[in-house]
Subunit: 275 residues, 3 copies
């Protein structure tokens, strides 16, 4: 089935790095792979997972690999922020929780802005929320034709993050960006490719094979040239990206404390619980 | 016929605002609609019309609606600047007229730059000149497949306005922008959509129905989230847009006084009179 | 054959400018044409050719033509930097050679940034390296369907120039730009058009006829309006383009002295010699 073909069996030869509970990190053939590994939770991002991804990116930036890849285990790439992050919060700790959440978000996105080597997303299935917005910060985004791209911020009373308020209109024009970021339109892989958010779409049945064949060839190119070229491109907008990230995180911190946002999230979770 | 299907019958339930001679302004279901209403003149923009649109936008920004829509009555969206604005000017008043024209233009475009809520264009038919360039300042642009997009500035000895010298190359790349802004190429709705100027094209026969169904759904989303997201996106370029608008208006003021421009407009009007 | 249909016979009526060895420069019908004229070397750019193109652009900027066109004689547009520029260099002159090369590159690209009139590329066949990257600095890029677009910088241990580290991601998004600039993907004319690098593609058999018919019509438009509109568009990014050009040239100067780059070029030339 299509979800079988997307699930990833770790080859014996991989040097797996220990110490991660929510990820599998391996390095081989000049490529370091960071795989989100909560398949039964559709790789929803918990606080622990945000922190482990940051540690993994830090390690990958310093290892001897040429290219770093982020992908997901199972049928989803990632269902985005785990909304249970918003539950079980007592009224007197809500402000502190929002403050810490905004710092975590800012630091997390900052790691993608600053990553110094070519960074590739292998989007094996549906992507939601922050797992969509950060894609514009990758150098290449390969997607299975099973992938979808959904940023329902307004439906949850929230606002864009991951620098998307700046990067998406720049990438696809204000109209297509508004459809996604303001009105929550879900895109197919083909649509996301037409808008430049995805670099190339592959049939799900051959996705893994084609992506890794391609990346193994790329990883043999002169590594300093690759690294310097990537940084030259990024440097043109790095300062603007950091400023945008800080401002988006600040605005979300306010949003999380608003009645509009709390009601929208509570409605969503109670609808989900009834299903 | 196709032009019948585009003409708009006002529903009884609309609360029509009084005081406009060239527009019909209505508000219903969280949506304020500003309809250009000189259908026999193809909604060409007179000085009065510029001023009434500014007043209408000011009112819409403060009412309790969630979304604001600009559209045209009849078969045209708008044929652009009414060239009779350039006639019946005595030689001794031409400099003052150009000065006032540049201020009116700058203030008009400025209202679109600063509009604080989601702003939607429902382009019911052909659009010309400034009614094309301002579209990049909207959040969503829906077009009938009968619509065309034409900016024949050079043919009239004029230069780009509506911030298009900045926004069009950013949106569609310098080549496609030059075809429109420098060389006056007219685009179909499908071509304008491929270039990102139009967000989605609908068959003319179902245009009104599909657009308003869509917008009524959008108008039910959390309104603060919509408004804040729109402003986050706009804030990244607001300062640049105002500076561009001021500079474009200044250059056009000079152009209007040039022999090249005067001759081009006189030729156009005399060719038109002979038809 | 297709290469015959792309080769350009000079009409008698052309006023050919003397003094160029690697170019043919002609002016007619308000159009100045600069034709790269080393067809047996696929119009590879030698130091002399860089200098003559700069002189030709300087002359074209001051003549009474409305539009300037750059094209290639023979089957190629240009195969890019002539790699023999890198050979026969003794170890003690290599630093000075790299320093001069970087200045030449910066001055060459600067001429395209500053060119004051509408500038058109008629890409008659394959384009490589800097002949691809500078295309984003033209106002219109017409291509034969035989043309391809290839920037194998990394394969030669080099990094992007011609302002492409800034202009390509802005034009086509970071993913498609990375494919070209970082990973050396070669684009067809249709792909380059879809990414906005090419404005329109024509069948090779009718390329010359269609392009020159189009340009003769455009050259009759009011010339001041054309020139001012072009400059308005360019002025929004002129300062950024010059800064990018200086930085890219500085980084390439370092690259040229690196072992990674020298080895990559030597490997390329020795593979070529064995063929």
């Amino acid at each position: 089935s299509s979800s079988d073909s997307s699930s990833q069996v770790k080859p014996e030869a991989d040097r797996e790095q220990a110490g991660y509970e929510t990820l599998v990190m391996t390095s081989e053939d000049g490529i370091t792979k960071i795989m989100l590994n909560r398949p039964t939770k559709m790789n929803a991002l918990t606080t622990q997972m945000y922190q482990e991804i940051m540690l993994a990116l830090e390690a990958a930036s310093k290892d001897d690999s040429t290219i770093t890849v982020l992908t997901g285990n199972g049928s989803y790439f990632s269902s985005g922020n785990d909304l249970t992050n918003f539950t079980h919060i007592s009224p007197d700790e809500i402000e502190e929780k929002a403050r810490r959440g905004a710092i975590l978000l800012r630091d997390f996105v900052g790691c993608f802005i600053d990553f110094p080597k070519p960074l590739v997303a292998a989007v094996n299935g549906p992507a939601v929320g922050i797992s969509v917005t950060i894609l514009r910060l990758f150098d290449l985004v390969y997607a299975s034709d099973r992938a979808t791209f959904h940023t329902p911020f307004s439906h949850l009373g929230q606002t864009p993050e991951g620098c998307s308020s700046y990067t998406f209109p720049k990438l696809m024009g204000p109209g297509k960006a508004a459809e996604m970021l303001i009105f929550g339109k879900k895109l197919t892989a083909a649509e996301a490719c037409a808008q430049g958010l995805v670099t190339e779409v592959f049939p799900d049945s051959t996705f893994q094979k084609e992506v890794w064949t391609r990346l193994k060839a790329y990883s043999k190119l002169p590594r300093n040239a690759l690294r310097i070229s990537k940084q030259m491109i990024r440097n043109h907008e790095k300062e603007k990206l950091h400023a945008t990230n800080a401002e988006e995180s600040r605005i979300l911190q306010e949003r999380w404390l608003s009645d509009e946002c709390m009601n929208a999230i509570m409605n969503f979770l109670s609808r989900k619980a009834k299903m």
